[in-house]
């Protein structure tokens, strides 16, 4: 049964980590529901999930690889940017869906209790489908261009974990902010659009270091994905180790994580009053 003996007062937070574990099944259920709705029901859903990254990769190749002639060393540009897209796609998907998740689930939130944070958190699972599809494209391209897999691949899980934490931190923060201030709904698509360019998906982060003043470089790396995308490429393609500036990405991610948890906890008991 969901709720054991307890006391309800104004100070009692509705949100506790120990309680989250008892809602494990609901977490997987919600993730499974998203998966079902997005892919399993329609052929178009799956097709769309393939078309979307394919076109992104193509356009990034044409614009950055051909027009701007971005040099990516020994690795062909298309492979280089596909690896970046793989990391970015996951982040963008999870951030977008987690960010709007509570508003979309308001009917549920008003009628039944469960730790609300499960709703944005459950979005982290389905994002892996999109990531997996891009990963398949990457493998095909690597075989085609005969790019070997780096031995650093054993460190990939660290960066995957990094992208989960980064995406959920931003997503949870946005989901809470969106409940309080509806305006944030418009921030999400804007952030995704901008993010693709200010994240080193289709070009090396080295560009930012070389061509921007130092303060702007710090700003550039405050994007938590800046360091993570470089990490993916280091782990998979064996490019250079992420620049020391990437520590700013880590710091920024931790700050967002703490802010997200803090703000969510603050607003948690009032969610049903706001939506």
């Amino acid at each position: 049964m969901p709720t054991k003996s307890h006391v309800i007062t104004k100070d009692q937070s509705l949100f506790s980590f120990s309680e989250l574990t008892t809602y494990k099944e609901l977490f997987w259920m919600l993730a499974w529901r998203d998966f079902k709705i997005r892919y399993a029901q329609t052929f178009v859903g799956l097709l769309w999930a393939i078309i979307q990254p394919s076109f992104t990769i193509l356009i990034l190749y044409v614009v950055f690889g051909r027009f701007a002639n971005v040099q990516t060393g020994a690795i062909p540009h298309v492979v280089y940017s596909t690896c970046g897209v793989m990391a970015w796609t996951y982040f963008a998907y999870v951030m977008t869906n987690a960010g709007s998740s509570i508003i979309s689930a308001q009917a549920m939130v008003k009628k039944i209790y469960f730790p609300r944070i499960i709703i944005p958190l459950s979005k982290a699972v389905v994002g892996f489908i999109d990531m997996g599809i891009t990963a398949v494209i990457l493998i095909v391209l690597m075989l085609l261009f005969e790019v070997p897999v780096s031995g650093n691949i054993i460190y990939l899980p660290i960066f995957i974990l990094g992208s989960i934490v980064a995406a959920l931190s931003v997503g949870v923060l946005l989901s809470a902010l969106t409940i309080r201030y509806r305006d944030f709904q418009y921030v999400i698509p804007f952030a995704v659009q901008l993010g693709l360019y200010i994240t080193p998906t289709a070009y090396p982060a080295e560009f930012a270091i070389q061509r921007l003043p130092e303060w702007a470089t710090v700003l550039y790396f405050l994007n938590p994905m800046a360091g993570i995308v470089e990490g993916y490429r280091w782990a998979i393609l064996g490019t250079e180790l992420p620049h020391i500036m990437s520590l700013w990405s880590v710091a920024s991610m931790l700050v967002i994580l703490i802010a997200a948890l803090f703000y969510f906890k603050r607003i948690d008991g009032k969610i049903a009053d706001y939506v």
Binding site: M1, I8, T9, L14, R33, I37, K110, K111, K270, A272
Partner: protein
């Protein structure tokens, strides 16, 4: 501190709602930072100093007019929202049913929704698996188990939803008026299930407008009014007192002045008139007219569902007039009068109340809902014959009939 005999102990519970601040935009919030006196927030106590206890195994009813605080109390007990003051101590596992079918997804099949809804309600996967066949049998939708629920009729949808909910087995069950949905047979099935739950030693807190159901299932009842407890005690006493006040209220207060209403309020019933062609004395067997004047903001007309429910003095629903019954919608605006016409009134002499309900396109989007909006009295029993006043006192309605010997 808390007595372990109590399943639910509510102590000085209060909840303050700020009107208007809930949908604040970022701009307004930033403006408010710089301008402390910008706008006074309107606030009201949805609950104020409410205290009561529910013993383990007891069934308690919560009654009261719209806006009395019933929903707020349920939301706090269900942990959907937090109180502003006071505390609630709960001993035992709780499941709350404020709605059936929470989280149902139209694209998913019946089978998938059973699992989804079950886990949202707090059932473990294994538990759902074990009860799966029972749930399906109760719902009676076996044949459509693998059909997306978007293709279900609304009746099938509700049956499946209730079937899942009915198989929850908490120690404490908190139920809102979920039983007001579905057809009569299904409602009876639901009430039967509820009765079974109450008699199986579980604690039940039941909120309803259905006085008969409360009287039948709950030993004690709490009457809430304006966020406070007006009366608490044995169900029959509390319900009788409540009904007699409603009667008085419906007779003396004009609909336009009532504040115990629900809905957006874009249109509000201002005045209600009853008449038959001969005057105001309503007679069985004669035509009857109910006219409701609506006032509101703006000149736009809204496409509405309108319903008029007739109840007897015991709070029992006698009949319903509704645009929904003919699957039609009406266009209603400020200054319009909605007239209901009954060609031949078939109620026996006595006092009746009407509930009036107006919603925008779907019943979920309530515009104005007023219970016990007005009372009327049927004076004479001239249904079967013009002059004869003979009728069976226990009857509520006259039934047109004939007889013959062959």
């Amino acid at each position: 501190m808390s007595d372990s005999n109590f399943a639910i102990e509510v102590e000085q519970l209060s909840k303050l709602y700020n009107l208007g601040s809930t949908n604040a935009t970022l701009r307004e919030s930033i403006a408010a930072l710089f301008n402390k006196t910008s706008k006074k927030e309107e606030s009201f106590w949805a609950l104020k100093d409410v205290s009561f206890g529910v013993k383990t195994g007891e069934s308690i009813g919560i009654i009261g007019k719209n806006g009395a605080g019933k929903s707020t109390l349920l939301k706090i007990l269900s942990r959907i929202t937090l109180p502003t003051e006071g505390r609630v101590t709960i001993n035992g596992t709780v499941a709350s049913l404020l709605e059936v079918g929470t989280g149902f997804h139209p694209e998913l099949t019946g089978r998938e929704n059973i699992y989804l809804n079950g886990s949202i309600l707090g059932m473990a996967r294994k538990e759902i698996q074990a009860k799966f066949d029972e749930i399906v049998a109760f719902s009676g939708i076996e044949r459509f188990l693998d059909t997306p629920v978007k293709r279900y009729s609304s009746g099938m949808y509700v049956r499946l939803a209730f079937a899942v909910a009915a198989h929850l087995e908490p120690e404490i069950l908190i139920v809102d008026e979920v039983l007001s949905v579905g057809d009569a047979e299904f409602q009876r099935k639901c009430l039967g299930k509820m009765g079974h739950v109450t008699s199986s030693g579980r604690t039940v807190l039941f909120v309803s407008h259905n006085m008969e159901a409360v009287r039948k299932m709950c030993s004690r009842t709490v009457w809430l009014e304006k966020g406070q407890i007006k009366m608490i005690g044995p169900s029959s006493e509390v319900i009788d007192a409540y009904l007699s006040e409603l009667k008085e209220n419906a007779e003396t207060v004009r609909p336009g002045e009532r504040s115990d209403r629900e809905g957006s309020g874009v249109l509000r019933a201002q005045e209600i008139r009853f008449s038959n062609p001969e005057g105001t004395h309503l007679q069985s067997g004669k035509p009857m007219k109910v006219e409701i004047d609506y006032r509101g903001e703006g000149s736009e007309k809204l496409t509405c569902i309108a319903t008029l429910g007739i109840h007897d003095v015991n709070g029992r629903r006698v009949g319903t007039l509704s645009t929904k019954l003919t699957r039609s919608l009406i266009d209603l605006g400020n200054g319009d009068t909605l007239t209901w016409e009954i060609p031949r009134l078939s109620l026996t002499p006595g006092k009746y109340f009407i509930n009036i309900f107006l919603a925008h396109r779907t019943e979920a989007d309530v515009i104005d809902w007023l219970q016990q909006a007005a009372a009327f009295e049927v004076m004479s029993a001239s249904f079967h014959t013009e002059s004869d006043e003979v009728y069976y006192e226990k009857d509520i309605v006259f039934i047109d009939h004939s007889f013959r010997v062959s």
